[in-house]
Amino acid sequence: MSWNNLPLGRRLLWVVLLGMLLLGVSLVLGLGLGSTAASWHRKLAALLGLSSPGDILTTIIWRIRGPRVLVAGLVGATLSLGGLVFQALLRNPLADPYILGISGGSAVGAILGLLIGLAPFPGVALLAFLGSMSTLLLILLITAGASGARKGSLLLAGVMVNAFCSAVIIFLVSITQDARLHSMLYWLMGDLSMSAPAQASSLIYLLLPCFLVILCLARPLNLLLMGEETALYLGLNVAVTSRLLLIVTSLMVSLAVCRSGLVGFVGLVVPHMFRLVLGPDHRLLIPACLLGGASYLILCDLISRVLPAQGEMPVGVVTAMVGAPLFILLLVRSRR
């Protein structure tokens, strides 16, 4: 029996099972691998909590790598889901979580924060969040009056806001000369290295409700994909649903971005990859993007930590370097 002939419930079960497996493997690798030289059985013992409490390896795995892996997973899931929703909502395959100026706004906020010398958390993160929220408000205000052409104007407004913010960012970067320049560039390319346990757990409480809301709106998203008019005739309150999706998605992406900086490409590559494999049904794509997106960023972060002989590279470099070829490969194979 081919994949499409399977009942939806069965397909969903497979997606969740395989996704969990992938996430499990990514978690073990993300926690277990790193720059510490230790034998596998010692690491395994530390992972399972069998080694003595004061063991240095246990501290490294659970206090240092643990929060970082958790943040990477949450950010990956958020960006993938954000891309999925924006691509459906704006009916544009190039839409990504940053399309509405979320990246531009939060980058301006973060860089201002770094310039005036705030701590990465909460200072810089808070300014980044405020920045993205104010661009979102601005865009909602710009497009509030327009009805039929809303999607077009929403996209255009986002592109314009992003362009303006880029100019501001380049200006701010160009007038900075000292060590702060380095942290700015890292923030702009995505940086997961500053993850403390408290931040990681607060991120969970904020993001999980957003995931749940979007999970509940899987069927409406399918209807929206068929066009707003059709969705309306199939009984969907289009205005309320699309506004809700827009706000929840922007909110969760802003929350993720203010923690991680601009991790590019995840929101583009993960949803499209799953669409090629699973088809357009959001009831499968949402769980797939959550689990797969989390695994993807955990693995990319692992590479960014382990690959360079000294130090680390920004995770955004890895997401694009791994993602783009992978995606092109899938695209070519699916066309055959």
Partner: protein
């Protein structure tokens, strides 16, 4: 008997631009009702209004005796199904998935389809002869197949009123007749009330039990094909010369378009 649709003194405007003014008519339950009229006479707007898609308007629109605004979107979609003129065809949903979307107003947003939903979709696809295409993705369908799939989706909503916006516009003659026969059959077998917009006056004459001729947002005439498709009314509404005689198949008018060169040759 309560009419399926009752429209009284309906006015709709898009901004300052009036689209429908003071329109009144009714569609009897179980009728095959066809709306005709020149481009931009307000046909599609009227259809949208009946489906609850136009908010700013004056006048009364009732569906089986209940004002259309009283329905929630979901409740209205259980009663009225729409086959729109345009729809995206680039999304690779399978035919079965698209037809199952017709169950949306009946099942919760979180529910997966139950066996009864699958059975209804199967029946709808069989009725419109697309059951063999169930696993085919939408972009691979021809125009005629697509139209039948969308009608199957509409039937899956189990509506009492079916609205169609120029469903035959992109079809070849054989598919046009097949589709119209299908609609007549659905009306007879399921007791559906069918309201459709058409540019084809002869199809309207042959299949329509009641016609509404719209011009510039006003009703020129409502009634049986023979009362609506008269030379004077058609010429006035469409602004072109037509020849109206009796269809050789019998019983209904036949409309023939008259080219300019023909008129010129006879000194008009």
């Amino acid at each position: 008997m309560t009419p399926a649709v009752l429209v009284q003194h309906l006015r709709v405007a898009y901004g300052r631009q009036p689209v429908l003014h003071d329109l009144s008519f009714e569609v009897p339950a179980g009728a095959f009702f066809i709306i005709i009229g020149p481009n931009s006479s307000g046909k599609t707007t009227l259809l949208r209004t009946l489906a609850g898609g136009v908010k700013s308007r004056e006048g009364q629109v009732e569906i089986w005796g209940t004002p259309v605004d009283r329905f929630s979107k979901r409740a209205l979609a259980r009663l009225v199904a729409v086959v729109p003129q345009q729809m995206p065809t680039d999304i690779p949903f399978t035919v079965q998935e698209v037809v199952l979307m017709g169950r949306s107003p009946h099942v919760g947003w979180m529910d997966l389809e139950k066996p009864t939903d699958l059975k209804l979709a199967q029946e709808a696809m069989t009725l419109t002869s697309v059951a063999h295409l169930a696993q085919r993705p939408l972009p691979q369908l021809s125009g005629g197949e697509l139209q039948r799939v969308i009608i199957a989706r509409a039937l899956c909503q189990q509506p009492r009123l079916l609205l169609l916006d120029e469903p035959t516009a992109a079809l070849d003659p054989a598919h046009q007749v097949n589709l119209m026969d299908l609609l007549a059959q659905l009306k007879a077998e399921l007791g559906l009330t069918v309201v459709m917009v058409s540019h084809d006056l002869n199809l309207a004459a042959m299949y329509g039990e009641h016609l509404l001729l719209l011009n510039r947002g006003e009703a020129v005439q409502v009634g049986r094909p023979a009362d609506v498709l008269t030379y004077e009314q058609l010429e006035r509404a469409y602004g072109c010369a037509v020849l109206v005689d009796e269809n050789p198949l019998g019983g209904v008018p036949r409309v023939t378009l008259v080219p300019q060169k023909f008129l010129r040759a006879r000194g008009f």
